[in-house]
Assembly symmetry: C2
Homo-oligomer: 458 residues x 2
């Protein structure tokens, strides 16, 4: 058979031990916080029926789905007419029934509807799994990447939003990433659009608010005019575009501007209630900022909108989410409200690497390695290795009786702290020589005292 030069599909990645240990540190931290807040794990299959996925992410999203070719005689089972140039998209639907999941949200919605009779609502679930997108690969954008989603479904309470804020705070506190949490509320944006009489111009307004610091008020107003917003509306928008100060100061301006909009007032009340809950909790490490320019997922979110930025790294958002009021309607279960956020493990990884935030212990695993000078020496070492492993210590025995230099090289490369040496002398005296690979120090320890020595020097 021909030799294959090994490679992997573009946009995908292998993770070696060092990366895995660090990635697991991130996943374990996120998971431990999710659990502490009472969220339960679920997992869904990598493959979903295309009928579940199609039409949920817009036309662009549909194109980015990886489709699985039907097994067997897919040509014979299809209309021969479909295999004509220019018809690939339609043909793909005739020869593929399944696709790889594009995110965790749609599979979760499908899950909730499918098992609605077995689920105890409010349902607090987390899900940490890879997703796949046939995007053009580029720096920091992959075709396979992990999402870490946490959602509450079946409860309208703003306490859920508050708990998510606390989770965000605790995850990044534990990871030692200084963060800014931006919050917005779709209802406030709707109120603004309503008050100025341009319900269709939500995006233009948020873009304008976003640009004020860079281009100044005159340029912003000019842009708004260009977008077809009339002068009286622009006049009304001035206090909102120029909004500054503390969250309380911003809310106070908004209360005045939006007082005639029912939905706007409701948005302000929601924001206030969220802040009250979070204040009751006590001090947070994460800064929280009301930011009206935050418009992520505007087609989708109906209440709170969240986005987290790392303060000390130039990178996009590392976490985001919001409240959606009809997640499951598409699958036949209307009026189920949910709220959730998703942590971007890959970007978090990049931030932590850049800022050198991974704890040192994370880069090593094995703590003790026994030398190997032959069968007899290994047999002598094994009960000691057993004791150490029973004490929860990660232990290797070098498998081959090769030159000791080679064994030390391996221990060094692997960052193993202690090399335990058992040669003829040591066996005769029922001892071990123990070399600390960091300090170079070497001591002789009685066989029976090895565990105690290692434990007190780790």
């Amino acid at each position: 058979m021909a030799k294959t030069k090994p490679s992997i599909p573009k946009g995908t990645r292998d993770f070696g031990p060092e990366q895995m240990v660090r990635r697991n540190y991130i996943f374990d931290t996120i998971r431990s916080v999710f659990r502490k807040y009472g969220f339960l794990p679920i997992e869904t299959p990598a493959m979903e029926n295309l009928s579940t996925l199609l039409g949920k992410y817009g036309d662009e999203g549909d194109k980015l789905l990886f489709k699985i070719l039907n097994s067997g005689e897919f040509i014979d089972k299809a209309d021969p007419e479909i295999f004509r140039p220019g018809n690939s998209n339609a043909a793909s639907l005739a020869i593929c029934e399944k696709g790889l999941r594009y995110d965790l949200t749609v599979p979760f919605a499908r899950f909730v509807v499918q098992y609605r009779n077995d689920i105890a609502f409010p349902f607090k679930r987390y899900q940490i799994q890879p997703v796949w997108r046939a995007d053009r690969p580029q720096k920091g954008r992959y075709r396979e990447f992990y999402q870490c989603d946490v959602d509450v479904i079946g409860s309208n309470s703003l306490l859920n939003e508050a708990e998510l804020v606390l989770i965000i705070n605790e995850v990044f506190e534990k990871l030692k990433i200084r963060t800014l949490l931006k919050v917005n509320n779709r209802k406030i944006l709707s109120g603004i659009a309503e008050v100025i009489g341009h319900a269709d111009k939500l995006i233009d307004i948020t873009v304008a608010i976003d640009k004020i610091e860079k281009i100044g008020i005159e340029a912003v107003n000019a842009e708004l005019r260009q977008k077809g917003i009339d002068d009286s509306a622009i006049e009304k928008l001035q206090p909102i575009i120029l909004l500054q100060g503390s969250n309380e100061e911003k809310l106070s301006v908004l209360r005045n501007v939006l007082k005639d909009s029912e939905v706007g007032v409701r948005g302000i009340e929601e924001m206030e209630e969220l802040f009250r809950y979070v204040d009751a909790w006590g001090d947070l490490s994460t800064q929280i900022e009301l930011d009206l320019s935050l418009a992520r997922g505007l087609n989708y979110y109906t209440g709170a909108i969240f986005e987290v930025k790392a303060l000390d790294a130039e990178i996009g958002s590392i976490c985001g989410g919001g409240r959606y009021d009809d997640l499951t309607g598409i699958f036949g279960l209307p009026n189920v409200s949910g709220v959730g956020v998703s942590f971007g493990a890959d970007r978090i990884y990049d931030v932590m690497l850049q800022l050198n935030l991974f704890p040192e212990s994370v880069s090593s695993t094995t703590q003790v390695i026994f030398s190997n000078f032959g069968d007899k020496e290994v047999a002598y070492s094994m009960p000691a290795a057993r004791n150490l492993r029973n004490a929860g210590i990660c232990v290797e025995i070098y498998p081959d009786a090769v030159k000791v230099r080679k064994q030390f090289e391996y221990a060094n490369k692997r960052n193993i702290r202690f090399m335990v040496i058992a040669g003829e002398n040591e066996m005769q005296n029922r001892e071990f020589s123990v070399k600390n690979m960091e300090t170079g120090e070497q001591v002789t320890i009685a066989f029976e005292n090895l565990e105690e020595y290692i434990k007190s020097n780790l």
Copy 2:
């Protein structure tokens, strides 16, 4: 948009919280043992290039690969001639470049070759990831399932085999599954075939050995004759077919029968060396049995062969593996020997469920839930919830201020131990009422003493 009745592709599964918690218990146990023995985690992409996968699993295996349809205008880029009835297999290779991984062994081999200059050999890796096979789904056989592989590559030492035996022993001891570990050695089988002059009849011989208890020696001999094995060979096979007793007794018979076969003698020596290492370790929970009928992966393994059966459940093997001498040759790196085993998480799950082996604590997660009678009560509870969570306790606050009966129902359904109640009375006296949901007992506790009370009653 049309409503989609939610379902998942056949042969795939969703895992709800209860299953997930149990599955994670299995994965965490396996992973913790792998780590204790110094194995390092890696992960590879779900999608591999088809050139990596094809031809590695035989013609049957090739058919069971899930192929990913190329994005974009796949018809325009292909020769129009290929889309004709009966040509689906060839056509699939023209319109698909990628496939889902079929096992973890081939991706691992690809990984080792691709990164051979960065890897510290001997390379001890573990990998716990799903694999996909377009098999006909049936009870206990899925199209997506997890494999938990642990391998050492780049070392010929039999200490590696011994360490794998210890890992098997420890994993099943921790999971409380009583097991029988069957071991065989390809070199012993080759020696037998050599001695009787039928090198091509390895499989027939192992099948015969396997049947002796069921059908008796006469019937076995008749079958061998039918397979074309001559009488003098059958004569020589008698002590092997009738082999009984302890491992030492079996080896003693084999030493005599195989004394003229170099490869056979080497096989016996390997088996003896393996047993010596394992004996040096001390007592094991797992029984080890030399079983010459064990022929799994015979085309593949070159030395030790392992298979684990659960003693108290009627199910196939729950773990298996062996030594392979040329894993990476297909990718251009010859003469790299490896040895490994794979744990079958799905079957282990079934055994543990059947034998009721999951610890009770595994079925619950949240330990404390606070009642919700409104904003003020929640604000009062939050600092107490914070204290408990900071102490590592899993805590929920019921999100909606609904009837208390509904909140109790939820706590019951979720198996939460303590309901902490904060109503007007409790707030006035700066206390909480705490109901133990298992015993029904309810006590009143001062606000400051809640953490201590919960901790000492968990």
